[in-house]
Symmetry: C2
Subunit: 237 residues, 2 copies
């Protein structure tokens, strides 16, 4: 099976959570919009009634005849197939529910630089962004980290968020920590000492051979100010 991932070609964004899963599993995949005429194919698929309008927005995935959109749904679909989620229903749901909570956090990261409107430039909402980013790093990140750390460190856990083996949830938390370090290095320097188990989880993921290879490769797009995690000095307090 060759998976086809459709996502914006110049950013990590939400697509990166899917790329990490495919890379970690060594799956055969094409990052369609990064190929020749790939953007054209992506825009066409999004508007195609014959495909049932596969997704409101990228990322979406084609797997044989199946089209799936929405990052957490893509990972739900891929999890079992790539060996990156428990097989039993309860564990599968548990992983998915944690991924949905990560998605909530990621949406809040996005809104630190776009608190008023996605249709406006950052420059046109910079004042509001400063207020929102301050609240985000002071109130929201600790609340999410607290929850994830509680889950990670409860009795019976083996150093992974779900079950006894790494799952896409662990890969996604790695990405969240990388992204927050890029966007808010000062806040993360203050917070990390309180969340060592999460930082160690990040390190274990970074050391996985396929992930380490991917991170060194050109396939890993550097963080930049078009993605979700953006570094703006005035928000980095």
């Amino acid at each position: 099976m060759v998976y086809e991932l459709f996502y914006w070609p110049t950013i990590q964004g939400r697509g990166e959570f899917v790329r990490l899963a495919l890379e970690d599993a060594g799956a055969d995949y094409v990052d369609v919009a990064r190929t020749r005429k790939g953007m054209e194919a992506m825009m066409k698929a999004m508007q195609d009634p014959a495909l049932g309008f596969p997704s409101y927005a990228p990322p979406f995935l084609k797997a044989g005849e199946v089209w799936v959109g929405q990052t957490p749904a893509i990972l739900l679909f891929l999890g079992g197939r790539l060996g990156l989620a428990p097989r039993a229903e309860e564990g599968r749901l548990r992983a998915h529910q944690l991924q949905l909570t990560i998605a909530d956090l990621v949406a809040e990261v996005h809104d630190t630089h776009h608190p008023i409107a996605v249709s406006l430039y950052y420059e046109d909402q910079k004042k509001e962004a400063k207020r929102r980013a301050k609240e985000f790093v002071e109130q929201r990140v600790p609340k999410f980290f607290e929850y994830f750390q509680h889950v990670l460190t409860q009795p019976g856990r083996k150093g992974w968020m779900v079950g006894t083996r790494p799952s896409y949830v662990d890969l996604s938390l790695f990405q969240v920590i990388e992204g927050l370090r890029y966007a808010f290095p000062k806040a993360m320097a203050r917070l990390e000492p309180q969340y060592q188990p999460l930082v160690e989880l990040r390190d274990r993921v970074a050391e996985r051979p396929n992930i380490a290879t991917y991170l060194r490769s050109k396939r890993r797009i550097p963080f930049n100010e078009d993605g979700i995690f953006r570094h703006y000095p005035e928000l980095n307090k």
Copy 2:
């Protein structure tokens, strides 16, 4: 099976999407926090390591020994069991993906009155709320409605969002339209003529016998300004 739903007892909020599914299916359920000592039970469950911290936030559901949190995950779990989603994997994923897109819209509704921080009062972010609400009704609602209407009206659809029968996606779109009518009646009066198929879908859901009974009952909490859909005259433009 008696389902136990855990959600804030005085608002519709995100829990309402689950209530509508349970009500439509005539399921046996307890709205735990609305019973005596129910709030206590909810707070306890949220903080219980023995339950694996079932959810970052309400709503969450207990079904026998299974705990599920996050609204779209709860509906994914309930869909097949309540006959409110296709059984085959592709249809199930399709319903779920649409529900995740509804969840994105609902999060944006929330941020119209809390664009800066959930930890601040509305009054402390009213100016920003006015800007965000304007953008929301002018740019975002049409974009989401356009997508949902495309999906609803593509060839082969039978008046429901997924498959040939009503699903929790239809119930959720009913709730979205009801909520937007409550929060933004002026904008909805302008928009609805362009989205008649969605309005007719809302009407078909409202006429379903169990839904009609529920809406007339005391179990249906009225919309109010503690929920997600809030009516503030200054945002209703």
